[in-house]
């Protein structure tokens, strides 16, 4: 059985439709990515799945429980890492975990052992008695991951888990996230607009204007955009282009002193090209379509343009100044 089943889910605020008839399933143990520009409905969808918002129409089932009618059961089945930090910075790391354990009704002894295991995993065991106020952004995130896993959820939701963190910390966080799947056998549902992070997902749903515009593995989504782009420089570009047309039946374009062509499998084509082309090759380069290209093609916008929106800038500010309270 699928661990998340969403069927024609709609969430409206007055006349504004944030989520407009979304349907998808998430399989047990997979890393499922939810991609889209700000305001596309990502966070709203997550909020419905986490029982923070009630659906206007449609149904969503998490771990076999209906989010609208069995919210307590859903809540016990899931862990959450929010977009913005949600720790009590006046308390210590351990106290934050204690609070979580208590409110999720974990037996004290089990909770102790589990806390140690998780704090060691995220390398915060030595800092357990320090107040969270003194933690860096990356440390807070790691602590939140430990907290989200404390009650052994079936699904861990991560809403922009690395937003506002530096690249090194982002890599670090991903190491934990991917390690989880092996250690805990947990299903991961995440939203992000970092395209390189989306590559870690087993499957990706791209959402725009409240609708899912594509859902597949990263490889197949990229394949759908078109083939790999090969650019080569030869001693005689005109002759090379003619030869490519005649011998391989490929439409080659000449631009900026280069010959540019598109093939379905560039990695397999290059050896043949090098072997069979009689024109002298000086340099050869191949680029594959990225998820950026997929996104651009499906939504008509580059996802990166969305990155610097005012709201995110504010969020970043809040995260940087999060110590002030």
């Amino acid at each position: 059985m699928n661990v998340i089943q969403v069927d024609r889910l709609v969430k409206r605020y007055g006349s504004f439709t944030a989520v407009d008839g979304v349907s998808f399933d998430v399989r047990p143990g997979e890393v499922f990515g939810f991609l889209g520009p700000n305001g596309a409905g990502k966070t709203t969808t997550i909020s419905v799945l986490c029982t923070l918002l009630r659906p206007t129409e449609g149904r969503a089932i998490v771990n076999g429980f209906d989010v609208a009618h069995q919210s307590d059961e859903v809540r016990r089945s899931i862990g959450l890492i929010f977009q913005d930090p949600s720790l009590d910075i006046q308390l210590t790391a351990q106290e934050n975990l204690d609070f979580h354990a208590f409110i999720y009704d974990l037996p004290a002894r089990e909770s102790r052992a589990r806390q140690e295991e998780l704090l060691r995993m995220v390398e915060l065991w030595e800092r357990r008695n320090d107040r969270v106020r003194t933690f860096s952004g990356g440390m807070k995130r790691r602590l939140e991951i430990a907290r989200g896993l404390l009650h052994r959820p079936r699904v861990l939701f991560l809403d922009e888990p690395t937003l506002g963190l530096d690249p090194q910390t982002r890599r670090h966080i991903w190491q934990y996230i991917l390690g989880l799947r092996e250690k805990e056998g947990i299903t991961l549902f995440l939203t992000t607009h970092y395209m390189d992070e989306a590559e870690y997902c087993d499957r990706i749903a791209i959402i725009d204007h409240g609708k899912i515009v594509a859902l597949d593995t990263p490889a197949r989504l990229k394949a759908g955009v078109g083939g790999d782009i090969i650019t080569l420089r030869t001693t005689d570009n005109e002759r090379a282009a003619a030869e490519l047309q005649a011998r391989f039946g490929l439409e080659a374009a000449r631009q900026d002193g280069m010959v540019r062509l598109e093939v379905p499998r560039g990695d397999e084509f290059i050896p043949r090209l090098v072997q069979d082309l009689t024109s002298q090759i000086v340099a050869i380069n191949m680029s594959r379509p990225t998820l950026d290209d997929v996104f651009l093609k499906l939504t008509g916008r580059a996802i990166r343009e969305e990155e610097g929106s005012a709201k995110d800038t504010m969020r970043l500010g809040a995260r940087m100044w999060g110590g002030r309270r």
Binding site: L52, S86, I103
Partner: protein, 273 residues
């Protein structure tokens, strides 16, 4: 059903516990929060006491400062109650509220835990002010504490619940100034903390009777003046409908108000998205 109840009780407890823990953690604030009551008591109180002259002094049972003292204790309770309820807005802004809202406990439990936690903070802060009693010639007896603390708690619970009802609808800290100027200060000034509610202009009389804090200040003052062996002519009960209320009636009014506010707090807190 049983599990639900148990989960909710745990929720109430842990929310309360967190508030108490945070209060205790922030000991410098407890001391800093003494400054304002001390200013009122020693500077405002002593100054006014000297200037209103012998005749008036006599009518205050010999000492305005002793009349003022219960008012200043209530002030600490009032301000701490509303402030602690406002921490919901902080928690929303800094995200911790989400951790609470997705936990498997009902929102009513969270709101009740918060009301209890805020009231406990307020009673603790009020008790710290109460420790100044010997400085103004009021003797702290165990009996006095047994009487005053539940009264402080009832007032605190009513005000914290009111605060939660407001904070649940507030989106940012910007609204806080408004709450401060249009709710807390008027409530404080109209409560009878600073002056007796007898013999005042009719319009003011009406406003003071509408202030729920009035029904908290008077019983606390009655108990304290009685314990100090002072004449209680300025704590004879708020006059309502032409006769002074008995202490039990005042407590009753406050209790009804507290119950209504708790209901409102639970409703507003549950309604937020």
């Amino acid at each position: 059903m049983k599990r639900r109840w148990r989960a909710d009780l745990r929720g109430v407890y842990i929310i309360w516990y967190r508030d108490v823990l945070r209060f205790w953690r922030d000991r410098p604030r407890i001391v800093a929060a003494l400054a304002q009551p001390a200013l009122f008591l020693f500077i405002f109180g002593s100054g006014l006491s000297a200037s209103i002259g012998g005749a008036a002094r006599g009518s205050f049972g010999g000492d305005y400062v002793r009349f003022l003292f219960p008012g200043v204790v209530t002030m600490a309770v009032l301000f701490t109650s509303i402030f602690s309820a406002m921490s919901i807005v902080w928690d929303r802004e800094f995200g911790f509220l989400k951790e609470v809202l997705v936990a498997p406990v009902s929102r009513s439990a969270v709101a009740i835990g918060k009301a209890l936690g805020g009231s406990t903070q307020a009673v603790l802060q009020g008790s710290v002010v109460l420790l100044m009693a010997p400085l103004v010639g009021v003797t702290l007896t165990p009996l006095l504490l047994v009487e005053v603390i539940p009264l402080m708690f009832l007032l605190a619970f009513a005000l914290t619940s009111l605060g939660i009802a407001i904070a649940s609808r507030m989106k940012s800290m910007e609204g806080f100034q408004v709450v401060m100027n249009f709710l807390m200060m008027p409530m404080f000034f109209l409560s009878g903390a600073l002056f007796p509610l007898q013999g005042i202009p009719a319009w003011l009389q009406v406003l003071t009777r509408l202030d729920p804090a009035s029904y908290g200040v008077d019983p606390i003052r009655r108990v304290m003046l009685a314990a100090s062996g002072l004449p209680d002519e300025f704590a004879r009960g708020i006059e309502l409908l032409g006769r002074p209320l008995a202490m039990a009636e005042e407590i009753g009014i406050l209790a009804v108000f507290a119950a209504l506010m708790l209901g409102l707090a639970v409703r507003s807190f549950a309604a937020q998205e």
